[in-house]
C-alpha cells in the first residue's frame, strides 16, 4: 500500500469566535480576518511539514484548490506544488485537484501540470475535480453547467497532452483555434490522473471506464461510504470487463497518532472538532447550489438530508463513523489494516494536519505515523494487479 501526506494549508490562526458570527466560514467571512503576517508564517510552516513528509518516507504529498475560505489557503495549488518541486526529492506531488469547471481556459491546467511534470521529472499526479459547491458562489461559475464543463475541459486537456499540436478545439464551453502547449508532459502519454470525490455514481462510472481507469479517491467520508463507493467502482469495472486493482482506489482521511490512545484523543479533540464544525461550516445552499449535483442525485440528498458540514459533531461521532483515524500507532495501524482488508484500497491519503492543529503536534504525529504505522502496512495491496488492468 502507498501512503500520501495530504495538506489543506488551513488558516490555523482563524479567530474562531469572530468567525462564528457569520453565516458561513467560506465566501462570506470578511478577509479582514486574514492576517498576512500570520499567513506568511503558516505557508512556510506547511511547506516545511510537506518537505518533512518526503524525508519521512511518505510516497507523496498532496495539495488542492480552494477559494475564498480559511479552510484551505491554496487558491492556486500550482504555486504550492512549484515550491514543493524544489523542497522534495522523491515524493510524488499530487495536485488534488484543479477545479476544472471554474476555469475559463482549461489549457492553463494542461500547461501548469506539464511544467510541474517536467520540473519534477515525472513526479506529478494530476487531479481533476469540480470544486466544492461554495466555489461556484466564490467564482461566479454556473453550477448548472458544472458537469458539462468538467467533461469538456478534461477532454481538452487530455487531447492537449496526447495529440500533436497545433489542432483546433471546438467545444460548447471552450473554443480554441490553436491547441499546441509547450511543454508536453514528462510522463508519457500523460501523468497519472486521480479523481477525488465525495461519492457519486456518475463520477465512478466515468472514472472506471476502461479507456481511463483513473484512480478514484473518496474524501472525508464515513467508512461505510468509503466501502460503498469503492465496491461500486469495482462492480462498475467488472461490468466493463475487468477487475479493478487496489491501485485504482484511494481514501483521503484525517488522522492523528500519539504515544497512547488516550493521549491522541486528548490532543486531537479540539482541532478535529474545529475542522468539521468550524472550518467546514456552511449552509446547504452554499454546499449544494442548484445543478451542482444531477437532478437524480439531488433528490437522493434531499431524502437523506446527508451533509458533511453539519455542525456540532464530536470526536466520538467522528471516530465511530470512521471519518477520523486516531490513537496509538498500534491502534491506527490496526484500523487501517481492517479497513484495507474489507475495502481493498491501495492508497491512503492521511491528512495529518487539520484546522488548528499546531506544528509540533503535526510533526510528532507525522513521525509516529511514518515510523510505526506505515511499515507494518506496506505489504497490503501489493499483490500484482490482474494483467488486463494495467
Amino acid at each position: 500500500m502507498k501512503f500520501f501526506f495530504f495538506h489543506l494549508m488551513p488558516y490555523a490562526a482563524l479567530d474562531l469566535a469572530e468567525a462564528a458570527k457569520f453565516k458561513s466560514v467560506s465566501v462570506l467571512l470578511p478577509n479582514s480576518l486574514y492576517d498576512p503576517v500570520q499567513g506568511h508564517a503558516l505557508y512556510n510552516r506547511y511547506l516545511d511539514e510537506m518537505e518533512y513528509a518526503d524525508q519521512l518516507g511518505f510516497d507523496g504529498v498532496c495539495v488542492n484548490e480552494h477559494h475564498q475560505t480559511p479552510y484551505g489557503l491554496m487558491p492556486t495549488p500550482g504555486v504550492t506544488a512549484g515550491a514543493l518541486s524544489q523542497r522534495t526529492r522523491r515524493a510524488k506531488i499530487a495536485v488534488l485537484g484543479r477545479a476544472l469547471p471554474l476555469l475559463n481556459n482549461p489549457l492553463t491546467v494542461a500547461e501548469e501540470f506539464a511544467m510541474l511534470d517536467n520540473i519534477t521529472g515525472g513526479r506529478l499526479i494530476a487531479g481533476f475535480v469540480r470544486g466544492i459547491g461554495a466555489e461556484y458562489h466564490a467564482w461566479g461559475a454556473n453550477p448548472a453547467n458544472s458537469h458539462e464543463r468538467f467533461h469538456e475541459a478534461h477532454d481538452l486537456i487530455l487531447r492537449a497532452w496526447t495529440e500533436t499540436g497545433p489542432f483546433a478545439f471546438e467545444g460548447k464551453h471552450y473554443q480554441f483555434q490553436y491547441v499546441n502547449p509547450w511543454p508536453r508532459p514528462y510522463q508519457q502519454p500523460h501523468p497519472p490522473i486521480w479523481i477525488p470525490s465525495q461519492g457519486s455514481r456518475e463520477t465512478i462510472e466515468w472514472a472506471c471506464d476502461p479507456k481511463r481507469k483513473y484512480v478514484y479517491l473518496q474524501t472525508f467520508s464515513p467508512v461505510a461510504a468509503v466501502a460503498k463507493y469503492m465496491a461500486m467502482y469495482k462492480d462498475e469495472a467488472a461490468k466493463r470487463g475487468y477487475e479493478a486493482a487496489p491501485t485504482q482506489l484511494g481514501w483521503a482521511v484525517p488522522a492523528y497518532v500519539a504515544e497512547t490512545d488516550a493521549q491522541a484523543y486528548r490532543e486531537a479533540k479540539p482541532h478535529i472538532e474545529n475542522f468539521f464544525n468550524r472550518f467546514l461550516r456552511m449552509p446547504p445552499e452554499m454546499l449544494l447550489p442548484p445543478g451542482y449535483l444531477s437532478y437524480e442525485s439531488m433528490k437522493g440528498v434531499m431524502k437523506s438530508k446527508a451533509s458533511i458540514t453539519g455542525g456540532g459533531r464530536t470526536i466520538d461521532d467522528l471516530l465511530k463513523s470512521g471519518m477520523f483515524l486516531c490513537g496509538s500507532a498500534a491502534t491506527v495501524r490496526q484500523q487501517i489494516e481492517n479497513h484495507q482488508k474489507q475495502i481493498g484500497f491501495g492508497y491512503l491519503l492521511t491528512m495529518l494536519q487539520f484546522a488548528t492543529l499546531p506544528h509540533e503536534l503535526t510533526k510528532r504525529s507525522s513521525e509516529i505515523f511514518a515510523r510505526e504505522v506505515i511499515p507494518g502496512l506496506r505489504h497490503l495491496a501489493e499483490e500484482p494487479a490482474p494483467a488486463e488492468a494495467r
Partner: protein, 262 residues
C-alpha cells in the same frame, strides 16, 4: 367574477410545454418568475374575465420538458417567439414577473410585433451599478419565502402549506433551470440594457415598494431605459404584486390596457 382554467400541453420547438389557459378575449400571456407557475392563481382568474389568459411553464420548469437546446435566456426568448407563432397569437398583452419580466424584455427587444402592450412586474434582466439584487441562491426556502412578501402572514401561509414529493421535485427542477439562466451574470444579461429602447409598445412597469429581491430602485432604471413606459409603485408590497396585492395589481394592469385601447 373569476374564470376557471384548463391545463394543456403543446409540442413547440421540440419541447413539450405545459400551460394553463382560461377566459375569452385578447390573449394575455403571463410569464412566471423563478418559483414556477403550476397553479391558477386568483389574479389569473380575475384577468380571465376580460382576456384569454395563457400561463405556460417555461422550458425546464414545472411540467414542461427541459430541451437540449436550453442554455440561456435568449433561448427562452426565441422559444416564446416560436410559441406565439405556433399558437397563432396576435394583439398580445405580454406580462412577466421577475424572471418572466426578464424573458418578456428579451422577447420584446427581438420582436415586438405580436404585442399590444407589455407589463414588467419587478423584472430581472438588468444590473443597476451599486445596487445588487439579493443573492436568492444563498437563501433557504424559508428565507426566500419570507423575503418574497411584505405581509409576513402570506409568507407564513406559504411556509405552512403542505408540499408533496412531486412539488418538491418540481421546485428542485425549477431551481436548476433558474441557475442555468440566471446564475452568471446574476439575474441579468449585460446586453439587454443596450436595446431596451427598442420597445415602442406601451409598457407598464410595476414594482412593490418593499421588494427585497430586486430593489425598488430598479423601477426607475427600467423606466428610463424604455421611453414608452410608465412606472407604478405599489405600497406595502414585496416581489409578487400580483399575489400580494391582487386587487391593486389587476386594476393597475386593466386600467393601463384600457387606456391603451381608448
Amino acid at each position: 367574477m373569476t374564470v376557471e382554467s384548463r391545463h394543456t400541453f403543446e409540442q413547440i420547438a421540440g419541447c413539450r410545454v405545459s400551460m394553463l389557459r382560461g377566459g375569452v378575449g385578447d390573449p394575455l400571456l403571463f410569464l412566471h418568475g423563478g418559483g414556477g407557475a403550476g397553479r391558477w392563481l386568483p389574479f389569473m382568474g380575475q384577468l380571465a374575465d376580460k382576456f384569454e389568459v395563457i400561463v405556460p411553464e417555461h422550458p425546464g420548469f414545472g411540467l414542461s420538458e427541459t430541451p437540449a437546446w436550453l442554455d440561456n435566456i435568449g433561448d427562452v426568448a426565441y422559444f416564446y417567439l416560436d410559441f406565439i407563432d405556433a399558437l397563432k397569437l396576435k394583439n398580445i398583452h405580454l406580462v412577466g414577473n421577475s424572471l418572466g419580466g426578464w424573458i418578456a424584455s428579451e422577447i420584446a427587444v427581438r420582436d415586438q410585433h405580436p404585442f399590444r402592450t407589455v407589463a414588467l412586474v419587478a423584472p430581472a434582466g438588468i444590473r443597476v451599478d451599486g445596487t445588487p439584487p439579493a443573492d436568492i441562491f444563498l437563501w433557504s426556502r424559508e428565507e426566500l419565502t419570507r423575503n418574497l412578501f411584505y405581509n409576513q402572514e402570506l409568507a407564513e401561509a406559504a411556509l405552512n402549506a403542505p408540499m408533496s414529493e412531486e412539488e418538491q421535485n418540481i421546485q428542485l427542477r425549477n431551481s436548476i433551470t433558474m441557475a442555468k439562466l440566471a446564475w452568471q451574470p446574476r439575474l441579468n444579461s449585460p446586453d439587454l440594457k443596450k436595446w431596451l429602447h427598442r420597445i415602442h409598445v406601451p409598457t407598464l412597469i410595476v414594482w412593490g415598494d418593499s421588494d427585497r429581491l430586486i430593489p425598488p430602485a430598479y423601477g426607475p432604471a427600467f423606466q428610463s431605459l424604455i421611453p414608452s413606459s410608465r412606472l407604478e409603485v405599489i405600497p406595502q408590497c414585496g416581489h409578487l404584486p400580483h399575489v400580494e396585492r391582487t386587487a391593486e395589481f389587476v386594476s393597475a394592469l386593466t386600467n393601463f390596457i384600457e387606456a391603451d385601447r381608448s
